[in-house]
């Protein structure tokens, strides 16, 4: 891959700060520690969910392992008034938007399609259809412009949207159409592509022969390639793109170059299609390790804080374990709710039918 533009990096994989001509971080020690905490907890969340799936408590889980920096760095760059559209893998983003991990599990356990109030968290939820939500994000951003909720000059209030998707999604018509709409209407949306180098078993080169960030130029918007395992850089470039969006200057495409350290989902077996050498290489670039090295060196992080964090993580895991098992199956009759805004004669008949069947089963059981 010819590299059109340099990859932005502010923290090397050795845990050392590096300079970038264009992007700078404003994060102080406390802020960095907070990001570290997020990453550690989110990795715990992910591991616990993976374990719950193995134990048969979830139907499926899509691990974020390795993508913590990309997700936490970008999500912590947002403000409360922003709105997020994501895929099935953005548990870290969901976490930053205040979604309870137990609610995340509902989707994967099969007790609900969407288990939280999207408007409350300003987090739309898991989208499984690759790329479809990127158009929704763009339309939402168009609405912000229309209502004058962006571009007023007050960066504390001006709104913007972030749309998450993967390297595979870059090939879908919907994503490219979103680029068309966002540039045509100069909408306040940041396209955040986590290039984890794989779309299930397909390497990114199947989707593109040039770096994905370069796609942006074709549509007339800035494209930034960032080290996706560098939480500081991810935070900085997302801040910059959000500021630009808020200021009414239109969309940006960010390609966070990272690596899916685990399987695509718990149903997947990556040994079938990729080299374990890659896994090792990328383990040495672990996004959490490098921040830890830096924070330890700076003495922002010490044994005591680490062990407090470890207990917090353990507590989170425990809560997930217990609560997941307690997640009740929905009443089957809810199947008929919310198909339409009002009652529907045919659905009412079918609901009665199911009611009778359930009552009958009840009787048989007793």
């Amino acid at each position: 891959m010819e590299s059109l533009e340099a990859t932005v990096q502010l923290l090397s994989s050795m845990g050392e700060l590096v300079d970038d001509p264009q992007f700078h971080s404003t994060l102080d020690g406390a802020a960095l520690l907070a990001l570290y905490r997020d990453m550690v907890l989110v990795r715990q969340l992910d591991q616990q969910a993976t374990a719950l799936q193995r134990q048969g408590e979830l139907g499926l889980w899509a691990p974020l392992l390795g993508q913590e920096a990309a997700q936490i760095g970008s999500a912590r760059a947002m403000q409360a008034q922003d709105y997020v559209f994501s895929t099935y893998r953005e548990h870290g983003v969901a976490w930053c938007r205040g979604v309870d991990p137990v609610d995340m599990l509902r989707f994967w356990r099969g007790t609900a399609h969407q288990a939280w109030d999207a408007n409350l968290h300003r987090f739309y939820g898991y989208q499984v259809i690759i790329g479809a939500h990127v158009l929704h994000a763009t339309g939402y951003a168009m609405g912000m412009s229309k209502d004058g909720r962006t571009g007023t000059g007050d960066l504390e209030k001006d709104q913007a949207v972030v749309a998450y998707f993967g390297d595979g999604a870059m090939s879908e018509g919907d994503v490219n159409e979103a680029f068309v709409f966002a540039t045509s209407f100069q909408s306040p949306v940041v396209f955040f592509c986590q290039n984890n180098q794989w779309a299930i078993s397909e390497p990114t080169r199947r989707q593109s022969v040039v770096p994905l960030a370069q796609r942006a130029q074709g549509f007339g918007m800035p494209g930034i390639r960032v080290d996706g395992n560098d939480v500081i850089a991810c935070h900085a470039v997302t801040m910059a793109a959000l500021d630009r969006a808020r200021a009414g200057k239109g969309p940006t495409l960010i390609e966070a170059f990272t690596y899916r350290m685990g399987a695509h989902t718990t149903s997947d077996d990556p040994t079938k299609y990729r080299d374990s050498a890659d896994d090792e290489l990328w383990r040495s670039r672990d996004p959490i390790d490098r921040l830890r090295i830096y924070l330890r060196a700076q003495e922002i992080l010490n044994e005591k804080v680490e062990s407090e964090l470890a207990s917090e993580a353990a507590y989170l895991a425990e809560r997930m374990r217990v609560s997941c098992r307690e997640l009740a199956d929905p009443n089957p009759l809810t199947m008929f709710d919310h198909v339409y805004s009002g009652p529907d004669a045919r659905l009412e008949r079918q609901r009665l039918e199911v009611e009778a069947i359930l009552a009958d089963q009840e009787t048989k059981v007793n």
Binding site: A112, H113, Q114, D117, A118, N119, Y124, G125, I129, A132, V134, L135, H136, A137, T138, G139, Y140, A141, M142, G143, M144, K146, D147, G173, D174, E177, A178, V180, F181, S184, T334, D337, H338, V339, Y340, S341, G342, D344, A345, R346
Partner: protein, 327 residues
């Protein structure tokens, strides 16, 4: 009473909806300065501005997808798809996203989006300009599908569709666009019948003709001719394809004992089959004959020089009535 064509009635209806709710906006291809290829949105961009009457990029999935985003933000988008044949690139957004958002969010999110679409054949145009895709939508849970057949319904139903909190596919019978009628503009949106009710246009006792959109005029014509021959046809304009107004149909069929469904779409998998099956389920002992279908044939839409043979006409309807009566 004001005389309006269907195009004019739709235009007025859109205008009313935009005046009464600032969240209503229009999106589509060429709907701005041009006013749409059928001029349904004529003058609206001039009066409501480019922010509310939006000429979108040429991308149907993009139009529906961004409209979904706009609706999530609180808008009430009304989309124009230029021709029936051009809706398919937006199919995923309509079927998987638009139709299911309320359900998947357990009622938290709603998408009050109306998708307007000219449909049906008979205008002598080229490929892809004469399609009847209604069954794809009507069979999709979460969507509502309605169609108007005259200026009165055009005027009121488009406003009802826009006011609805459900996504509505609004089908406009393109070859009847210029058909005129008297519309009483002094009525109110709530005083006129719900768009989810079928209408008995002609009462009769021998056989029920069930039709919608472009075939309503044909069916009325058939009923008039049949009356001359002493055959009394009851004509029902379905108006709503999802939900089907079974109550109105059943009442009629229990009276006449016979029914013929007329539509331009192909027979296989069309509305006629669903209507027939539903009526057979609920009126089994009343039916003197199977519900019959008079439809477009099970081919793609043919070249326009032979479209008249493809489209249901008065003769085919009367033949079906005769066949039904002979059971």
């Amino acid at each position: 009473m004001t005389e309006l064509s269907i195009v004019q009635a739709l235009n007025r209806g859109l205008r009313c909806a935009m005046e009464s709710d600032p969240k209503v906006l229009l999106m589509g291809e060429d709907i701005g300065k041009l006013g749409g290829v059928f001029r349904v949105t004529e003058g609206l961009q001039k009066d409501f501005g480019e922010d509310r009457v939006i000429d979108a990029p040429l991308a149907e999935s993009g139009i529906v997808g961004t409209a979904i985003g706009l609706a999530l933000y609180g808008y009430r988008p009304v989309i124009e798809i230029q021709f029936d044949g051009f809706v398919y690139p937006a199919f995923d957004q309509i079927i998987v996203q638009l139709a299911r958002m309320r359900y998947r969010s357990a009622g938290v999110l709603q998408l009050p989006i109306t998708i307007r679409m000219p449909f049906g054949g008979g205008i002598g145009s080229v490929e892809h300009h004469g399609e009847s895709p209604e069954a794809y939508f009507a069979s999709t849970p979460g969507l509502r599908v309605v169609t108007c057949a005259n200026p009165v319904d055009a005027y009121w139903m488009i406003q009802q569709a826009i006011a609805s909190d459900d996504p509505v596919i609004f089908l406009e019978p393109k070859r009847r666009y210029w058909q005129k009628g008297e519309v009483d503009l002094s009525e109110t949106l709530t005083s006129v019948p719900s768009m989810y009710q079928a209408k008995v246009l002609v009462e009769g006792s021998d056989c029920t003709i069930i039709c919608y959109g472009p075939t309503v005029a044909t069916s009325l014509h058939a009923a008039a001719l049949a009356a001359q021959d002493g055959v009394s046809l009851e004509v029902i304009d379905l108006r709503t394809l999802s939900p089907l107004d079974l109550v109105t149909m059943e009442k009629s069929v229990k009276k006449t004992g016979r029914a013929v469904v007329v539509h331009e779409a192909s027979s296989s998998g069309g509305i006629g089959g669903e209507v027939g099956q539903c009526l057979t389920e609920s009126c089994f002992y009343y039916l003197q004959a199977p519900v019959l279908r008079v439809t477009g044939y099970d081919t793609p839409y043919p070249p326009s020089r032979i479209e008249d043979v493809y489209l249901p006409d008065v003769d085919r309807i009367l033949d079906a009535v005769e066949k039904s009566m002979s059971y």
